[in-house]
Symmetry: C2
Subunit: 914 residues, 2 copies
């Protein structure tokens, strides 16, 4: 099996993405590498390599790479992801040609170790683990001790002189096989274990006697048979075969599919299966098993971080059943393997150039490496590690920037709790994923999902979490568990999702049935508010106020690095001086969308606004508008002042007028009284303004065409504000934007009016300030006729909210009546209002930019829809050639990073194309 044809080597050199593409594009004619079903590793060599995740899965690739690095890896082999694909293509059966290869691989491992699988005095036991290209909770994880039956167990007992260990391994196999292969509810097994311990008067597994374990194995067999309807399989090959099939089946299990949905994982072939010779962490006190990180995954500090359990098997750590010890203690109890582990972690981090998350087992003093992968980190840790690694010259700045998921920046900008003296801390657990979350307590994932759908914020409280809880964890503001450590399922998953998480909070007792938890003498019931702090581990009663995120020096460093590469500008959507200041602090280089309508809602202004709306003629409207003019001027002075020296794109009035008048008869009567007009007139006008589909109604530039005096007042206010600021030696840079244009004839008269009024006011004041007049592109027709529109517009700003609405024909206000169905049935990959539909809406954007610049080379182009803060959409905008993106102030850093990544990728593409 070791002879590798040349073509396989060639394929192996491809990047995983390229391999994926190749695998995808040639399903009928697989590449030779994809043809190979099993890949050996161990013994300082391997068939595969670390960059073959697509075929070997992450775990298999890591094992191959560690083998090649000469690290102590128990020998084994990986069944490729392509076999999983064939398994499903064939309707759920193993390919006929697989098993002979498996047998050959087993024979190689037997030979290497001088053991026999399923027989002989030195029986070979193996572990079976799933492993896709992306880490994916929800699939079958691990079955250990495969190969044990009464005969091999006794051989093992004899060989090791440790019958207790052999029995312990045996009962674990049955338990694990029942749980992960047969997907049984294992409560009866647990109860039997608990009963045995109670009977023996012990609280630890280690307190059980050999006799207890003999009984337990028998009891476990009985439970298994009762539930499965057939005996536990004693044939090692049948055990292995069923494990392999269970791994493949779990690939399309509900939980795995849900996980892929939530994490948008697509395009994978399937999962690999890793079959590896067992090493034993449960072979007495000189044995242990553990999980460790090359750096602290929560703070990012360059300190060795991890946990271990002496005399245990790996599942005990991950499942959070026993609370593990910090890795530092290993140094004291097992100095030699500890020193080996430190050498290994140094080597691996340097080799991969990234923080590693490793699993290891120490068997009677010897270290074995079972897994390595890039470590998931808290957002803070992500930033700190990339900055440190740049400083340590382990990675380049480009690598550092590309390594930071923009989502982590978003999380970092989340608020933290504002602690007054009155906060009642109920308990303290382990801080597992930072952030501050308040919500109503729920005790199961289904309720979490249901309540979230109803718009309620929830905190999911569980003894421990399991892959079934994924949906509920995603729906929750935060997760609180009473058991498990910082590498438990709850902690790992929550960090990945960016959910606040506190684990191992043993002070709380949960009654899932009664839907209550007891803590410090209080009872907290389903629906009660609690708050959890993922950075301190504190659990508080009630809702707790929050303060803004304090940003670390690492954040500042990362942002500065990003700005070194970024080519597109980043602006903010802001309409108050406060927003403008926040945006500026976050690095906004201007305002991309300053809405003017909020200014109309102020109490003192709304009267004049309504007077204007109720006016019978132009003269009446002008009189009312004259009252608004000084207010608007002041608004603009403030915002231009706050953004002194930076451009501010002011959008003229956009919403339909009926938004400014009340709907109820009572409120209408009040308006009538305040304006001194007849109530009937108000009512009639409101009726007249009513629209069937206001989104496509009398708004935007359509108001400007019907009532030019409104826009004229607004432009005059802008001009007067500019004059006032210039007199104060300020540097206002207005860009005036006409909304909802669909035809150049709409824009032309309004742009002409704008220039006329600006020039008139500036000219009269002898002030010269450059300003521009442009338009939003938010109606499909505007995109289609962008060449005509660009003749009149100096800039385009894509209003992708409306453009998405009209391109899809989806009303954003009503889309929730069917969008959940669409996402569930995968009609759409994403909510197009969150992540830009590059295929449809994106076509219009690309086309509009192209046509616009065909007539105006220096056309400035930006985006001001919600998508301006969505990293994937930002990437698209940059590729489409936009000059800037604009988003809410708190997303400015996200956009800066996303834009930098886009620029780096563009440079890489350009380099590759050379």
């Amino acid at each position: 099996m070791k002879a590798k044809p040349v073509s396989k080597t060639r394929s192996a050199k491809k990047s995983p993405a390229a391999a994926a593409r190749a695998a995808k594009s040639s399903r009928k004619a697989p590449t030779p590498a994809a043809d190979r079903r099993t890949w050996a590793f161990g013994d300082g060599k391997a068939d595969g390599k670390g960059d073959m995740k697509e075929i070997l899965g992450g775990k298999g690739a890591g094992l191959a790479e560690m083998s090649r690095l000469g690290l102590p890896v128990p020998p084994g082999f990986t069944i490729a992801t392509t076999v999983c694909k064939r398994f499903w293509d064939d309707g759920g059966k193993l390919p006929d040609d697989l098993w002979p290869e498996v047998e050959a691989q087993l024979a190689r491992v037997e030979k290497a170790l001088g053991r026999k699988f399923g027989s002989g005095p030195r029986p070979l036991l193996v572990s079976v683990r799933s492993g896709a290209a992306s880490s994916m909770p929800g699939m079958m994880d691990t079955v250990l001790n495969v190969g044990l039956n009464d005969a091999t167990r006794e051989s093992l007992a004899a060989e090791t002189g440790n019958r207790r260990f052999a029995l312990d391994s045996h009962r674990r196999l049955i338990h694990m096989f029942a749980r992960v292969v047969e997907e049984m509810n294992v409560r009866e097994f647990d109860q039997a274990l608990d009963t045995a311990k109670r009977n023996r008067g012990t609280t630890s597994d280690a307190g059980l006697t050999v006799e207890d374990l003999v009984d337990l194995v028998a009891i476990f067999r009985e439970i298994f048979q009762a539930r499965a309807g057939c005996p536990f399989p004693d044939d090692p090959r049948e055990q292995l075969r069923r494990c392999v099939m269970a791994v493949f089946r779990s690939w399309n299990g509900d939980r795995a599919k849900k996980y892929r949905d939530i994490h948008k994982i697509t395009g994978l072939l399937g999962t690999a299966v890793n079959v590896q010779a067992m090493v034993f962490g449960n072979m007495g006190d000189s044995s242990a098993t553990g999980v460790c990180f090359t750096r602290d995954p929560e703070t990012g500090a360059n300190v060795f971080y991890g946990e271990f359990l002496p005399n245990a098997q790996g599942e005990d750590v991950v499942a959070g059943i026993r609370t593990p010890l910090p890795i530092a203690q290993l140094k004291k109890t097992m100095p030699k393997p500890y020193a080996d582990l430190v050498r290994v972690k140094e080597l691996l981090e340097r080799h991969y150039g990234d923080v590693q998350d490793m699993e290891f087992t120490i068997q009677q003093g010897k270290l074995w490496m079972l897994q390595t992968r890039n470590g998931k980190r808290s957002p803070q840790a992500v930033l700190r590690t990339v900055v440190d690694m740049v400083d340590e010259k382990r990675i380049t700045k480009e690598q550092a920037i590309l390594r930071v998921d923009p989502a982590v920046i978003d999380i970092l900008l989340h608020p933290t709790f504002d602690r007054g003296g009155s906060t009642h801390v109920l308990a303290k657990g382990l801080p597992a994923s930072p952030g501050a979350a308040s919500g109503r307590v729920v005790f199961d994932a289904e309720t979490a999902e249901a309540w979230k759908k109803d718009g309620r914020k929830v905190i999911l409280v569980r003894a421990e979490t399991s892959p079934e809880d994924i949906g509920g964890m995603n729906a929750a503001q935060g997760i609180l568990t009473s058991r498990g450590g910082r590498t438990s399922h709850a902690a790992v998953v929550a960090r990945g999702m960016g959910r606040t998480c506190v684990v191992g909070c043993s002070a709380i007792t949960i009654d899932e049935h009664a839907k209550e938890m007891f803590v410090a003498g209080s009872t907290v019931r389903e629906g009660d508010w609690i708050s959890i702090d993922g950075s301190t581990g504190e659990v508080m009663l009630g809702q707790v106020a929050t303060t803004e995120a304090k940003l670390s020096k690492y954040f500042t460093r990362v942002m500065a690095m990003a700005d070194e590469f970024r080519t597109a500008g980043v602006r903010a959507n802001a309409e108050t001086p406060l927003d403008a200041r926040v945006a500026r602090e976050f690095g906004a280089e201007g305002i991309g969308l300053c809405r003017t309508e909020h200014m109309f809602f102020d109490e003192r202004r709304i009267v004049a606004v309504r007077e204007m709306i109720l006016a019978e003629d132009t003269a009446g409207r002008k009189a009312a508008l004259a009252k608004l003019l000084p207010f608007q001027q002041k608004d603009f002075e403030e915002i231009f002042g706050a953004m002194d020296g930076l451009p501010v794109t002011v959008r003229l009035l956009d919403p339909p007028l009926h938004e400014f008048v009340p709907n109820t008869e009572k409120a209408q009567a009040e308006v009538a009284a305040s304006l001194g007009v007849d109530a009937d007139r108000v009512r009639r006008r409101v009726q007249q303004l009513h629209e069937m589909n206001p989104m496509m109604g009398h708004r935007g530039c359509r108001l400007g065409i019907s009532y030019p005096e409104i826009y004229e007042m607004q432009v005059r206010a802008i001009a007067l504000a500019v004059v006032a600021l210039r007199k104060r030696r300020k540097d206002p840079r207005p860009e005036i934007m006409i909304p909802l244009v669909g035809h150049v004839n709409e824009l032309r008269p309004l742009a002409d009016m704008t220039r006329r009024v600006m020039d008139e006011v500036l000219g009269a004041a002898k002030v010269s300030v450059p300003y521009t007049v442009g338009t939003m592109i938010e109606v499909p027709r505007a995109a289609l006729t962008a060449d005509q529109i660009a003749a009149e517009a100096q800039f385009f700003s894509f209003g992708t909210n409306d453009l998405t609405q009209m391109t899809f024909g989806f009303s954003r206000d009503d889309v929730n009546s069917f969008l959940p169905d669409y996402l569930e049935q995968k009609v759409l990959p994403d909510d197009p209002f969150q992540s830009l539909d590059t295929e449809g809406v994106g076509q219009l954007i690309t086309l509009a930019i192209e046509r616009g610049r065909s007539v105006r080379k220096d056309l400035k182009v930006g985006i001001c829809g919600e998508h301006g803060g969505d990293p994937r959409s930002v990437e698209f905008c940059c590729r489409a050639g936009m000059n800037y993106v604009s988003c809410s102030p708190y997303r400015v850093p996200v956009a800066r990073l996303a834009a930098a990544q886009a620029a780096i990728r563009a440079a890489q593409r350009a380099h590759a194309a050379k």
Copy 2:
């Protein structure tokens, strides 16, 4: 002036359209032809030609062509339309270089006639008339007798020995000059004339004595000076100059602009001015003036048709002030000029190959031709004349088809009155424009327009109409005048507009002030209903029921000819068996859109529909749908039966569910009672279904995705109907259409379901019927991703109503809040819901067809929006390569003709491109 440079000749050869394009595209560098300011005619030769309407205007081109044909045309010259453009470009002044040319032209005319303009014993008098490329009421029309003052009048009196004639001509000049040049209200002039006649005890102008006329001229001078503030200009050159300027000014007068708006006349340079030596129809009893058609413009019969007034000037005929005599009488009173006229009309019709509308004057027995142009005809006459002329081999079938404006077909399909015994005919006038119109009486154009806006039908009743009334005539269902003949302003304009019109109904007396009319002892007040029959001239009290149009054999012939050329199919939008039968009779070749929702509103079905909507789960919905299934099956059996052998495109349910449940609490309570459910549940469900923007809400295929059982029931009903019909040996041809698709993922599952259910039902019944599954393209995203969608769809049907809504972002329900402003300010050339926006929406259509056919060569493409019956839109659809258009049954003939014209033009373009 007669030497023509080669370049002018070349330009003159261009088609008018080409000349227009040339003139348009080279404003800075006009063509040499456009450089020439004045164009001579008369004496059997002319500088210009008949195809130079763009430069010479229609009237000038006709005069030039008649001159070239050697017909008796009084000499004169045309000031080109390019001069009008320069007049307006220069801010309303005559170009400096114009007058020397005018003087040279005058000198030529003087020489030709041996007369002097403004002096001498044989004074030259001229007429000044406007004349744009398109006939355009509303511009200054004619000033006769220009050149008269006291001196020239007396010379004329001496020369003709007819002082009465000279004085009559003089008072006419002042009157006309006041009216058309100075735009004075001429009531005082008319009153003075009436007073003079009353004093003299006569009712006719001819009854006035020379002394009376001397007085009248003096009185007219006084009135003129009093109203104008300056004396009447006695300098002939000043008269001429002011006339020319008045013509140019009238080009941009409100009425002319309104006329161009209504008739969508754009792209013209301006109006020409025709200055022509006077000939006199008022020179005694051997003189006359008249208007005639080569064929009857109302029936189309090949009989000489016209009217004349002896001893009168042309304005008397056109203005309808005196009621003229039928042309046949001219044969008796003036046989020689009549014979000449008959020869001229024969020659002209043959020369132009079209019915001619001519103006002539007989001066002391000699015939002079003053104008010829293609005659406007009633819709019936249009059809009859083209059919006759094809039969007479005067024109080709292609020419015949292209000559019929599809709008006339539309008019012909209008209903006529259904006369029971009870109809009360009040009076009878002259039938001037066919049709049957009922409406409320209004007595002025403003009221007509205002009431029309409010949705009321009106009949405009006037003593006579004038260009000021254009807007009101357009707004009215029909026009009734008490004076004037069938060539009066009212008759000509009404025919052009396709408005029913009765003129010269002298039995009615109108009191405009009191807003009443008196007829046959009754008083009819503003707002009362009357009905007029434009084919009989009858005026009836009240609303009269109508019957469908009876279509003449000419209609049938024209349609048959059209079908010879037509390449695109024509289908109808129909959803009842009645509609389907009508459509079939009108030549529909299938149903392009069969909506299925109306079937849900039937009283017995709506209960089940509501039960379905209120169902709590899929099972409940399915139970309710099972009740609907037999109804839907019957619907489909009927419609497939009516369209036996022809394709029927069935659109699955489209509207949002809230359309089927009532809005008021009371009605909701009733629904609850009828379904035996809680009223609150109904109310809550209605609330839940409420949408902000239902147009972009939960409808179309979105329902199909959320509630697949609804579409499944509909498809099953289609399949069962097909089976039932096949058992009756019928030939059903269903095409199943999924609406509102924007993403191929929406279409795919629904198309799969459709095919599955169809095959299942047909298979079980062992019936084999070809059917297709396709989609509407009505969401911009569908057009943009048409290649993907065509992979699943066997046909596309463009739903241009929704596509227009979403491409513009205009809600059709709300567009009237701003569309009137848009049309008035020319932001948009047309209502895009009536005439397809080829520039924006059309782009999406073209692109979708191209992309769709790129993956499915035989993709069938049609249109089923309202635009399918709009001739200009049909032309676009044919050019875009659609297989068929579909429209309402009554527009099917219009679409057939428009499609034939499109095919002929396409063939002509293809021929020209060779």
